[in-house]
């Protein structure tokens, strides 16, 4: 499963927001064909770390390698062009635009007329309609509706559907099952496993160690901006990992009951 060269390699990453030290000397490898659970409490730095990987934040120091090449410039456009799809938690959809327009934002399909690019509306509409039906949005929701009309779960479905549709090499999911019903949640988890089986790298961020332990090959735990644990799921149980989180990242020798 794990080949020699990591697809994404993070080395000694530090990130400051002003005086706030958000990421502290983080080093971690991610391989193609791997489903990695990134776990930690609120404010642990999970989202900050993946925001570096998808180009939103530029690290203060440290290096990121993608497919063996060092990343010099950080911008979401570059990450997306490299094949990194991210399902962000709080951003990613513009309320004032239709589902179809959101779906293709930043990479709109065009038909050229005398060299001038015009939006290919039928393609935008067909593709996004297909996806919103797959994800079981209400029947009266159309691809031309503004995102503003959608419920939290529906928004999440649009974001996930978009990432899966454009899947390329890496899919990063930040709390993907928030706002979702039980059935939708199962669907998303199945998708994550399927993507991994297709050879993609899937990074799955969550609070819920028990949920992700069932899916993931490996768990990375963050705490207070640092990576505190990195273990294969077959070598540590969910309970043991939960204990690590509870202890603020220190692996505690369990006391034997006498």
């Amino acid at each position: 499963m794990t080949n020699n060269q990591p697809l994404i390699q993070v080395r000694n990453l530090d990130l400051y927001f002003g005086a706030f030290h958000a990421l502290k000397n983080v080093s971690v490898d991610f391989h193609a064909g791997e489903l990695v659970g990134l776990v930690g409490d609120n404010g642990a730095g999970k989202t900050t770390l993946i925001r570096v990987l998808c180009g939103i934040h530029t690290p203060t120091s440290g290096e990121v390698f993608f497919d063996g090449r060092k990343i010099v410039k950080f911008h979401p456009k570059l990450a997306i062009d490299q094949g990194i799809e991210t399902i962000q938690q709080s951003v990613g959809l513009c309320d004032n635009l239709s589902i179809a327009r959101n779906f293709y934002l930043g990479r709109e399909p065009v038909k050229r007329f005398l060299g001038v690019p015009f939006l290919d509306f039928s393609r935008m509409r067909d593709m996004s309609t297909k996806v919103i039906r797959q994800f079981g949005l209400r029947d009266n929701v159309s691809a031309d509706d503004e995102v503003e009309r959608l419920s939290g779960g529906e928004r999440q479905s649009v974001k996930i559907g978009r990432a899966v549709e454009f899947k390329n090499r890496v899919v990063i999911m930040d709390e993907p099952t928030n706002h979702l019903s039980v059935r939708e949640r199962e669907h998303v988890n199945e998708l994550a496993v399927q993507l991994k089986e297709q050879g993609l790298l899937v990074i799955y961020i969550t609070h819920d160690i028990f949920q992700v332990h069932k899916l993931a090959d490996r768990i990375v735990i963050m705490e207070n901006g640092e990576k505190v644990a990195d273990a294969m799921t077959d070598s540590m149980s969910a309970e043991e990992l939960e204990e690590v989180i509870r202890q603020g990242g220190r692996v505690i020798e369990k006391q034997e009951a006498v």
């Binding site: 951003v91 513009c94 309320d95 635009l97 327009r101 959101n102 990479r107």
Partner: protein
Amino acid sequence: MALQAAKPLIRRHSELGIFLIGAVLIVIFATTSEGRWANLYNIGTILQMTATLGLMSLGVALVIGTGEIDISVGSTFGMGALAYLWLAMQIDPVVAVFAALAVGAAIGLFNGLLVTRSGTPSLIITLGTLMIFRGIAIALTEGFSFSIPYADRKGWAYFLFGGGEFLRFNTALYWLIGALVVLMIVLKAMPFGNRLLAVGGSAESAHSRGVRVDRVKLVTFVICGMLAAFAGALEAGKLGFADGSMGRLMELQAIAACVLGGCLLAGGRISLPGALMGAFVLSSIQSYLVVTGVRPQWFLLILGLVVVIAAYGDRTLRQWALKK
């Protein structure tokens, strides 16, 4: 029940309010001015005013669409007018128009770079450049004004840029229609328009999808500057005269036209036809005050009152439409 049916339409088209207000005002103006307002000559004058204010409003509407604002357009208008008249005299009107566009683009670029690079609110940046370029315009024309006598303004080039009439209307009107059509297509049917509205809707989300937010804003400021300067050139082409005060206070009218026309100042939702209707309403009011002989001292006061009432009426209408 017909009223109930209109609600979804009003909710979806925020510009309907201004069209309704426009229709009401047209009726009032036409019936209370004993034919002095509603005649072809006066309508032609209103449309010429609408054309120059409208070109400026289109640019401002686009900037508002990205969630920023440009209040320097009045000075840009003045600079465009001066550049046009100065070079039309010396060289050629066509060269002069390109020069005016270049001046507008440069001012837009200056605004855009300051806003995107420094992250300072565009309101304060463009307030500053409003004063800077007004100052330059006044300094350039100190003690004299630029003018080209009517007799010298012959030839197709003068005709084309506001100096003549085609089918009884000033040529500026046709430029306005052309600009509206092109910008509507860009906004609704091209990738750039999609990104522009996305930036105004949520700059963070647009950024996360790989949209180069700063570049979109920069381009929009440049387009806005060019439109304002072009409007100035057309106005100068009509009058054959320009001084340092050209376009003064027009920036406020342009913003009022946009807001009356249903553009959301927070960004992301704009209507270009609405902004033009706003410009038409403001021009109509001015013209009405002139033809009914209201003393110029009362001008601003009455104009302002009508703007406030129109804005209030529009808001009431929208809130009514949002209710069940």
